[in-house]
Amino acid sequence: MEHKGGKKEGLSVLTYIALSVFTLVTMLLCVCLGSVSVPPDELLSSSIILNVRLPRVLCVALSGASLSLCGAAMQGLLKNPLADGSTLGVSSGASLGAVLAITLSISIPSLPFAGTMVMAVLFAFLSLIIILSLAYKLDCSLATNTIILIGIIFSMFASSMISLMMYFSSDRLRDITRWTMGTLSGSSYTNALVLLVTLALCAAVILSRASELNAFAIGEDNARHIGVNVRRERLIILIAVSVLIGVCVSVGGTIAFVGLVIPHMVRLILGPNHKKLLAASMYCGACFLMLADLVARVIVSPLELPVGVVTSLIGAVVFVFIFFRSVRSRHA
């Protein structure tokens, strides 16, 4: 059959509208529901809604979108469906920075949250530089396997440093533990703004590289042969992912599984083409984390669970389900 126009590979306008509507409805639901019930006529004037839930839900949605985008990009870049932002080791590096800030009570006058954020982003960058330098020393072509290996080793090193700090700072132990479990309670509009700006910039970089990510996902050699500047593009994507992960970690701590499970699920439905996968993962990641945060807020109300615990629980079950289903369908 002759195709007159070029084949469109991205999401259709209708899909974008459907995903946007679903995200807005989820957001509305998460803002309205919580441990304290707010009458419908007071929704727009309630202090709980405007000062507590709305900034928190915005941060949760933006973090979910960011983590999923990073996961999708890393899984394509490293041609590994088990990769996510944490595979690179940057997530652990950012955590180390933030835990150091909490332990040493590092803060910036008039911006109490900025100390943790600056340290997390700084350490995310430092981690990236260390990981890439070590990988380059081992293998000047910066091969994917070398980066994964160094990333895993660096993650282990950062985790043991965090454990060491937790061991020696018993007075801040609760803060650190709560933070490492991942929580977005107490998020402010300033946090949301920082997340929004970072996501806008990094998403522009990553989304514009959908073709390159497709090529990497097929194979590094194939990417090189079709004309992708493999080293440059890989470096740009890694930097964008690191910045985004660093900011997310500084705001919400370590939130596991979102970056791993969401792109995986979206890929099962829409296929591996990054022209669809990246955008759809952002929407689905935002919705998933908002719903997980809602569960964390209401399931043992008035107490609250760290959202990272909920995402890990849901994510592990969903992941096992997906894994079994894909293995069974492969055998069938």
């Binding site: 041609k79 469906p81 194979g219 083409n273």
Partner: protein, 251 residues
């Protein structure tokens, strides 16, 4: 079109390719022939993957290291051996990526892209399975998919590393006929690594016979694949063995 001068590739202390020089002119199909470990794929990798080497490789008179990756991909297409895929991309998606080097800014070059992709799918017989996942393809279909990607790339020089890997006889013939027709178009040339001496003799206009990284002979295929040369390189009576095999078929 391509000039290779004093190409030497070393891995650690061992020399894999030793002082190899050859030219490929327009309209030529150069076969790289030799036993395992002769350095055939290493030569191809040095030209296409930029693995470290000493010597010079010139394309159209310009050192290939000077070209940007995207500029090189518009001129040289590579079909590597042993393609392994992990994600379920469709045949069409992979072939369309062949147009990557021709996109302008963030946009594709439009009609040219679609025409090239459709033509590449047609000549490789993949139109019917355009929407099929790579994970469901046979080895031969997968090989033809990546060949279609290279055709869609529309290069001047085609470098093929064992292009008939995984292909049954029907597709071996089809692929070699396809390449034979492709190279007849003006301003085109092919370099391919082959193990099958029959195919090298049937289709190669020139041949480069290698042994342990060194050139044994270079020139017209008929002359290079002579009885003496092959006996020296393979340490066996290749002609005699070929005749013996053929005799069984005529019986």
């Amino acid at each position: 079109m391509l000039e290779v001068r004093n190409l030497t590739v070393r891995y650690g202390s061992s020399t894999i390719v030793n002082d190899v020089s050859f030219d490929v002119a327009r309209g030529e199909w150069l076969m790289l022939v030799g036993p395992n470990g002769a350095g055939k794929s290493t030569i191809v990798n040095a030209i296409s993957k930029g693995i470290p080497y000493t010597g010079t490789v010139l394309f159209e008179g310009k050192d290939i290291s000077v070209y940007k990756p995207i500029e090189l991909a518009r001129r040289i297409g590579v079909l590597a051996q042993g393609q392994r895929v992990g994600y379920s991309f469709t045949v069409g998606e992979v072939v369309r990526l062949g147009r990557y080097a021709h996109k302008k800014g963030f946009f594709s070059s439009g009609c040219d892209d679609d025409t090239s992709v459709r033509r590449a799918l047609e000549i490789t017989g993949l139109t019917e399975i355009e929407n099929q996942s790579l994970l469901t393809l046979s080895g031969g279909e997968l090989q033809r998919t990546f060949l279609a990607q290279v055709f869609a790339q529309n290069p001047q020089l085609l470098i093929l590393d064992e292009p008939t890997n995984h292909l049954d006889l029907v597709y071996q013939k089809q692929v070699f006929e396809l390449i034979c027709n492709w190279v007849k178009e003006p301003n085109r040339a092919v370099i391919s690594v082959v193990h099958d001496l029959d195919l090298a003799k049937c289709y190669g206009s020139q041949s480069l016979l290698l042994d342990r990284g060194r050139i044994v002979d270079l020139g017209k295929t008929e002359a290079v694949l002579s009885q003496d040369n092959l006996k020296k390189v393979y340490s066996m009576d290749v002609y005699g063995w070929m005749r013996e095999r053929l005799a069984r078929w005529s019986d």
